[in-house]
Amino acid sequence: MIDFVMPTLGADMDEGTLDEWRVKPGDAVTRGQIVAVVETTKAAVEIECWHDGVVQELLVPVGQTVAVGTPLATLLEPGESPGAPSARPEPAAAPAPAETSPAPARPAPSAPVGHRLWVSPVARRTAVTLGVDLKGLTGTGPQGAITLRDVEHAAATAHHEKPAPPPTPPRPATAAPKSAAEKARERGAAMRASIAAAMSRSKREIPHYYLANEIILDPALAWLTEQNAGRPITERLLPAVLQLKAVALAARKFPEFNGFWRDDGFQPAAGQHVGVAISLRGGGLVAPAIHDVSEKPLAELMADLTDLVARARAGSLRSSEMSDPTITVTNLGEKGVDAVFGVIYPEQVAIVGFGRPAQRVVVVDGGIRVATTVQSSLAADHRASDGARGALFLAEIDRLLQRPQEL
């Protein structure tokens, strides 16, 4: 028996609201499969499962807010036979949901495998009237049966999804369904609060030091022009991809910038999962990861970056992307600033910034020249590394960008 728990999708997350189940009892799941959608203060995040197995029991109904670590479902390991659903305590309620209705104590719903879908007569009739597909609904009634409330809830959710992606189903027991605009405002406020918490923690706990270096980009841009000449427009590489790859390779060489400060010690990360700071159109910011950046060819990274930005702005990020960055890159070049000095996202230990590439006067080999340069910066955690190593790390990024063909 495996407990599938509410994951932490960032150091500042202590609870999440289950938005949607993508599986039901009896479904086989594979490692990496998306099994649920969880609403955090930042986004609706697709949650992946990290085990192979068969879903035995869904323990948390759609709409419920639970603390990180609360079991959401139980899985049977491959070959394990279903026993009786275990009696469990109610999921640990997250603090301060003002909208919970008083409910009498009762065991968690169980959904035994192996019978036809249990639907109450009035729920089945109403589902036809409201056009709700009963498959995929999670029953909250006696013995896990689908009840009238489940159908009405599903209908309300579907109604609200159409005009306003990302989907945020109304939670049960709220007085009135919220409009999409209201929800967007609420999410905006929640995201602001969450950024405030993370950044305050960062500046409170992390002794930052800052380094900067001006990088000549001409060789990289010339190489990109040459590369892109042979590519369709949709597959053209952007300078940002070179920067990501260079940061990842430098982080592999200087592991003290790639990992986490936890429990009064530095824990280096195994791979280089580079978080990309993405500003959202409605305001706010997320920094989901592209996995294993140092291992991937540039074309794949470009596709990953395009996909990640699109999904971040649509609010459909995956749990591993939210929780995995080992180092972050922020690029404000297109906003027209010369340089950016980042604030480290806890519990990471470094953030690399890039400003606007522009033609600037530089001195090369004793002569004055005009070159395209970009201001790179490093904000690093002095607990995990020192300035001398930071300087070498930043210089390594410079060195790599001068040899784009090797990236």
Partner: protein, 326 residues
């Protein structure tokens, strides 16, 4: 006016006898003793032995006398000490009283009222404590009443005495001391069920001695966020389907509380009617709270354990909800 269920029955008999000289009362110990449950105390002095008749211990005989008297123009009230003893008079009630209007092609009317105590809770053991209302509710040709309030104890008896056909009234032994404060006592209808408590989450259907328990359970459940509607059947035959189904259409959940045994019970009949007429309104299986399938024990703790109780009603209601009451 503060009064009790016992006094309401007494007053209904007395008022009816004053208003109509054809009304008479007969039964075991109704005269000199004033009735086993003191429902006829003092009536012998006021109305005399012609109209208040003590009978021998023979239910077959004196229920038959009541039926014969009604056929000849009187309005007899026959008191049977408990429903258990009425078994001896089943032949009179089922084969004679219930059938004569139909067997005579409508020529004979049998306007007899048979009152009897029913139910457990007073440590009277198995031969004095059963709830066999369901047996009578099975029989076409009679009207079966179960007043559960002080107002109905008076009102339903008064109306029964105007009814042209046999009426059997069940008075639960646990209700005789029930008190109420009423402006006046009046005749009440003998056709409809009554909603005793309005609620939106679940319908609790009950009658007679279980009504106070159901109302108490509803109050406890309300504190936990479940809003019960409590229906008092009042009339066990014919059942008021309309009131029950109107409530089911609102709450979509039903618990039936019945002091009879579950097997072959009124609770079963009610469940079947709701499924037949309201299946597509149900959001959960119908639950029943009935008496344990044993002869009612004498020992107090065993007797209480055998009967429907507030805890059991609360648990049955909660069992109809999965995650949340709404």
């Amino acid at each position: 006016m503060k009064t009790t269920y016992r006094s309401a029955v007494h007053d209904a008999i007395a008022d009816a006898m004053r208003a109509d000289e054809t009304v008479v009362l007969l039964g075991e110990d109704v005269g000199r003793y004033g009735g086993t449950y003191a429902a006829s105390k003092g009536l012998l002095a006021e109305f005399g032995p012609e109209r208040i008749r003590d009978t021998p211990l023979s239910e077959l005989g004196f229920v038959g006398i009541g039926i014969g008297a009604s056929l000849n123009g009187l309005r007899p009230i026959v008191e049977v000490m408990t429903v258990n003893f009425s078994m001896l008079a089943l032949d009179q009630i089922v084969n004679t009283a219930a059938a004569l209007r139909h067997m005579s092609g409508g020529q004979f009317s049998v306007p007899v009222v048979v009152r009897m105590a029913t139910g457990a809770g007073r440590q009277l053991a198995a031969q004095h404590s059963h709830s066999l209302e369901n047996w009578y509710a099975h029989i076409p040709g009679i009207t079966v009443l179960a007043p559960a309030t002080v107002a109905d104890a008076y009102g339903m008896l008064r109306t029964a005495l105007t009814h042209p056909d046999p009426v059997v009234i069940f008075e639960h032994v646990a209700l005789y001391n029930l008190g109420d404060d009423l402006e006046s006592l009046e005749a009440t209808d003998i056709r409809t069920a009554a909603v005793r408590r309005s609620g939106g989450d679940v319908t609790v259907i009950t009658y007679g001695g279980c009504l106070p328990k159901a109302l108490e359970a509803a109050e406890e459940l309300a504190r936990g966020g479940i809003d019960c509607e409590v229906i008092d059947l009042r009339v066990l035959r014919p059942l008021d389907d309309a009131t029950m189904l109107e409530s089911v259409r609102k709450t979509h959940r039903v618990v039936v509380v019945d002091e009879g045994w579950r097997t072959g019970s009124l609770a079963g009949e009610i469940s079947a009617r709701i499924v037949e007429q309201g299946f597509y309104e149900l959001d959960a299986p119908i639950a029943r709270v009935c008496t344990a399938e044993v002869p009612i024990p004498y020992a107090k703790h065993l007797e209480q354990a055998a009967l429907p109780q507030v805890d059991g009603i609360v648990a049955a209601v909660r069992g109809l909800f999965g995650e949340s009451p709404r």
